[in-house]
Amino acid sequence: MKVKVISRNPDEYLRATKRDIYKVPRNFDPVLHPFEGPREYTRALNAVKLERIFAKPFVGNLDGHREGVCSLAKHPKRVSILVSGAYDGEVRVWDIARRVSTASWQAHNGWVRGICFSPTEEGDCFWTVGDDATIKVWNTSPKDEMNNDVRPLNTIISKSVLTSVSHQWGGKLYATSGDCCQVWDETRDEPLQSHSWGVDSLYSVSFNPVQTNVLGACASDRSMIFYDVRMSGPIRKVIMQLRSNKIAWNPMEPFVFTCASEDYNLYSFDARSLGQPFNVHMDHTSAVTDVDYSPTGKEFISGSYDKTVRFFELDKGHSRDVYHTKRMQRLTCVAWSLDAKFVATASDEMNIRIWKARAAEKLGNLKPREKRALEYAAALREKFAFHPQIKRIARHRQVPKHIYNAQKEMRAIKDKMSRK
């Protein structure tokens, strides 16, 4: 007797290897897909919701300082190394990957006002300036394991107060601010140049990392002063309505810089036309203390006195994200890691926090399919970004009550101003 059975060739429905993709026959005729729009919208909605679900930006906490941290510096060649200085003059070298401090020592008497690495060579040494009006050069990996008597490679006693230090990229120069802006050579103990332009003191100074002869400084008379190291002198001054705390140069757009202002805003300028900023970034509810650019030059991070860290895109007026924790106090400095994936923030309450630059980003290696799915989700979010629901979900953040209230207040003030 012949029994008829359904038999199929397994070649037609089994994969040859595990990595084979099933060939799904598709007809792309849009007539056959009347619901493609709504389906994609739904996917976008899900994507944006998932993004918010997965938004867990806090990576870790670097604990060890016994005073508030007032300065941070990132290693120019190695992503995992971070150096911090505290109010008590202690300097710590951190290994971020292991979240441990590899070395710490008393560097200055009083605040460590500024730390900077030399971007040349391998970044073996860094400079610190402190309230004791000294410039000290340190080795990143001091040989002594006990950290008892770490000695600086060099100590320069300055004649005046020092408030910050910044090193030139690919050069031997570094600049300090204080009573005046001084430009030093690595190999000399006397400043090469010393510029003052009718100001009491300068709060911070920063070299342009690309156009390395340009230098920006924030002065106490609400002004920002720009120097040209080659022309040996100040070249322009911009006076703001309120004092600016920090200048950060865009590492990918040499003529763009952003200053963190006391008036809760950040201002992005084109250094070639300083008449007015080309973008004003608002959202902070208190004075902005520090700003640092992403190495991609597309966005920057700002730390504020309102105990939040905000991420701004260069071409947007409002922040794309805000990070805060209950215990994080007023921010003193922020640093965006050189692989653009992490940020480090230092605050008054002795802790350095490491965050993800993208809150919902999945760390580690991704499978190709996963990667593609994430890319698709991101594309969908971008495509439907203007739809009200998606916009609402994407922008929704839980903020501390004081910020919420301050924001409300500011909105009210703004409305009132616009009404007038």
Partner: protein, 782 residues
């Protein structure tokens, strides 16, 4: 009062004038503060010694005043005056803030221009679809062997063990490692690398250029170039010869012979012998193509002319001059022969002539004898019928003879009769062969002419050559020693004279050439005209040939006529068809297109009428459809559609008898199961005639819809289109999906992204341009 006032005024003016006058006249004398005078230098500066503002002239001028008007001092004072006129005082320095301001402005502008350099890169990075960081990855990196070999995960226990053993065995390895470590890896920046590469490329280009130049020079066919080369060579040889003559006259004579030999060999070269690729190709075609035949014949003729031994104009015989007239004229036209052989021939003939003169008296008898002997071959020579082909063969033959016998190397005619006969036979055969190959291309007339000419030439040649030989060579063999003893001095002097003459000629020639260059354009024109004429001649010649052939054979004219007829007909057809077709299509045939006919027939005058008709059509279009009524109808339809319908719950057959003749739906059932809805439910737009309000619109969806046109979009359409286009792989192909979902910025975890560097400013194309502008490799002209 007025008067008083005026008086007072007058007084004032007078007073001031008086003051001025006094100041003018006595100003210098009554100056209270004396001008500064020279003192011992001191640090104290008294205010009384300062010069008043008005009196800058001061010391020097006063000093010059004291000088005399004449004598030495006058010159000095004049000089001082001159200098003072020239010298202008420097402007006063700006005030410090002002100066600083200017300095700052200048510095700012400089910085601005520096920053402006980055503009293109920045804007490109802003616009680009995807940026993947780190951007400036060095495009090569040197790694030390140790680095290359080192294992990032550390050493395995086995390796460690082996290492420890090795280290125990020898302490050398450590030293090596130290060496490697101490050596710093040398990096070039991008610009340096580019420059290096450019330099290498340049060297390579130069090398290849030199190579190609050498190759080309080997292949050069330019007559001019070769002429120049030859001239140089002859110059050199002449110089050598001159020196040799001074030192060793006998050797000089030998040298002379050698030179002559080389010349003869040159004449025997295979140029224009129709042995080249081109000639062979022509020969293949010659059977069928008359033109190629002609070309070959011409080529042969040219070769013949070239290989002709050049007549010497200053030979002793007057007859020869007369008979050679034609040929010489030919040679004059022929630049090859004329210039290539001139110096040589002149010199050689001069030398020979000199010898001849010296020896004439002594060797008359001998020469006579030689002449008698040589008449036999000349007769034979003149006998055989030879066209251009025969001439060529002659050359070949003589070449053969060169190898056979030394006696023939020079003139090839002193041979025995039997040999000559053989030769004749050979020649005949060869001629035949050639003839059969080319099918007798040359015209009968020209052939005859050639024959005549050749015959004459042969005679002359032989006569002259024999004469020359008889006068020069044979005696030399016999009593050379005596001759040299006697004639050394005269020889030297005369030869030197000749050489100097030649030299002057040679020197003069470049000048002439320059002149030629300066009038190059003219010459070119002439050449072109000449060539044109030649062409015409050849054309006519060809015509002649055709006609002559026509007379010979009956078939050929018809063949030759046919193509011409065809051509004519062709041209006729083209002329007939093209314009008429155009016209007919444009005028009459209506195009099968969507464009309305009104537009098609638009002329300048008809424009208005056309537009009018357009207007009418539009108006007509609107008259027919009443927008208002249409809208009303639409609204009614929508209202009707949206009216609540009665709910029919009747089930056929339910509660009734089945089978045939069953009523459809009973009234009772209808009454019970059809629920009637009240006919008039108020609508929102009941009282708004011009509005249709959709009451069924989804309220839930409203929250998801975009209210405002978002910023970068210009129109609603574009935004809608952007939303409507799917990006998922469900609806579009995989590749398109990947392209559409590409992230704008990608980074590598753990890879340090360094800021832009100056390398980014280095544009490769710019580099290329720079290369062209700055150090372009200009090859020398060939």
């Amino acid at each position: 009062m007025e008067e008083n006032f005026s008086d007072e005024e007058l007084l004032d003016t007078q007073h001031s004038a008086l003051l001025r006058n006094t100041a003018f006249t006595y100003g210098k004398k009554f100056q209270r503060i004396k001008p500064p005078s020279r003192n011992e230098p001191s640090l104290e500066i008294s205010e009384f010694h300062l010069v008043r503002k008005g009196e800058k002239k001061g010391l020097v001028k006063d000093l010059t005043l004291s000088l005399d008007k004449a004598g030495k001092h006058a010159i000095v004072s004049q000089k001082v005056k001159k200098v003072q006129k020239l010298i202008k005082p420097l402007p006063a320095p700006l005030e410090k803030p002002e100066a600083e301001k200017i300095k700052r402005t200048v510095a700012f502008n400089a910085t601005k221009s520096l920053l402006n350099r980055w503009d293109p890169i920045v804007s490109a990075n802003r616009v680009v679809d995807q940026l993947s960081f780190p951007l400036n990855v060095p495009f090569f990196k040197l790694r030390s062997p140790n680095e290359f070999l080192s294992n990032p995960y550390g050493k395995t226990p086995l390796e460690k063990e082996v290492e420890s053993i090795l280290s125990r065995l020898s302490g050398k390895k450590k030293e090596e490692e130290k060496d490697y470590n101490s050596k710093k890896v040398f990096f070039l920046n991008r610009k340096e690398i580019m420059e290096q590469r450019r330099e290498l490329a340049r060297l390579r280009a130069q090398q290849s250029y030199k190579e190609s130049k050498a190759r080309q020079q080997n292949k050069i066919k330019s007559k001019k170039y070769h002429r120049i080369l030859r001239r140089e060579r002859t110059k050199k040889q002449l110089k050598e010869f001159e020196e040799l003559m001074k030192v060793d006259p006998e050797a000089a004579l030998k040298k002379l012979e050698e030179l002559e030999n080389t010349r003869a060999e040159e004449r025997l070269t295979l140029r224009h012998r129709s042995t080249g690729q081109w000639a062979r190709n022509r020969a293949v075609h010659a059977k069928y193509d008359k033109q190629s035949r002609e070309m070959l014949a011409q080529q042969l003729r040219l070769g013949k002319e070239l290989t002709q031994k050049v007549r010497v104009s200053d030979s002793s015989d007057g007859e020869e001059d007369m008979t050679e007239g034609n040929e010489l004229a030919n040679h004059e036209n022929n630049p090859w022969l004329k210039k290539g052989s001139d110096e040589y021939q002149e010199f050689i003939t001069g030398y020979r002539k000199f010898w001849g003169d010296q020896l004439k008296n002594k060797t008359e008898d001998d020469t006579k004898r030689f002449n008698n002997e040589n008449r036999v071959p000349t007769v034979i020579n003149s006998d055989f019928p030879a066209g251009s082909a025969s001439e060529k063969v002659d050359g070949k033959e003589s070449a053969k003879f060169n190898s056979v016998s030394a006696a023939l190397t020079k003139f090839g005619f002193i041979v025995s009769d039997t040999k000559e006969e053989n030769l004749v036979l050979k020649r005949d055969s060869s001629v035949k062969r050639v003839n059969c190959d080319w099918e007798c291309t040359v015209l009968a007339e020209s052939m005859r002419d050639n024959e005549k000419r050749v015959n004459k030439r042969g005679k002359k040649k032989v006569r002259r050559e024999v004469g020359a030989e008889g006068s020069a060579e044979k005696p030399i063999d016999r009593d050379l020693d005596d001759l040299f003893e006697e004639m050394e001095v005269s020889l030297k002097s005369k030869a030197q004279d000749k050489i100097s003459l030649l030299k002057s000629d040679i020197n003069a020639e470049p000048l002439l050439e320059e002149n030629e260059k300066s009038s190059g354009a003219r010459k070119e024109k002439k050449n072109s005209s000449r060539s044109l004429q030649e062409k015409k001649n050849s054309q006519s010649f060809m015509d002649e040939t055709t006609t002559s052939l026509g007379t010979h054979s009956g078939n050929k004219p018809s063949i030759t006529e046919r193509p011409s007829m065809n051509l004519y007909s062709k041209s006729n057809t083209t002329v007939e068809i093209d314009p008429k077709k155009f016209i007919s299509i444009d005028d009459n045939k209506p195009l099968n297109s969507g464009i309305p006919s009104i537009i098609e027939t638009g002329d300048d005058n008809e424009d208005e009428s056309a537009s009018m008709s357009n207007c009418i059509t539009i108006a007509a279009a609107f008259t027919e459809d009443d927008v208002v009524t249409e809208f009303k109808q639409e609204k009614e339809a929508i209202v009707e559609e949206n009216k609540p319908k009665d709910i029919d719950l009747t089930l056929p057959g339910w509660g009734e008898w089945a089978g045939k003749g069953v009523p459809e739906v009973s009234r009772r059932k209808k009454k019970r199961f059809i629920f009637k809805v009240s006919q008039h439910i108020p609508r929102k737009d009941d009282k708004k005639e011009s509005v249709i309000i959709n009451e069924n619109a989804d309220v839930k969806a409203r929250t998801h819809q975009v209210n405002e046109l978002p910023y970068p979009y210009v129109g609603v359409e574009t935004f809608e289109a952007s939303i409507r286009a799917p990006i998922g792989s469900t609806w579009i192909p995989e590749m398109a999906h990947e392209k559409l979902t590409i992230p704008k910025v990608t980074t590598l975890q753990g890879a340090v992204i360094e800021p832009l560097t100056e390398d980014a400013l280095l544009d490769e194309s710019e580099m290329k341009n720079g290369y062209n502008q700055d150090e372009e490799f200009i090859p020398e002209e060939l």
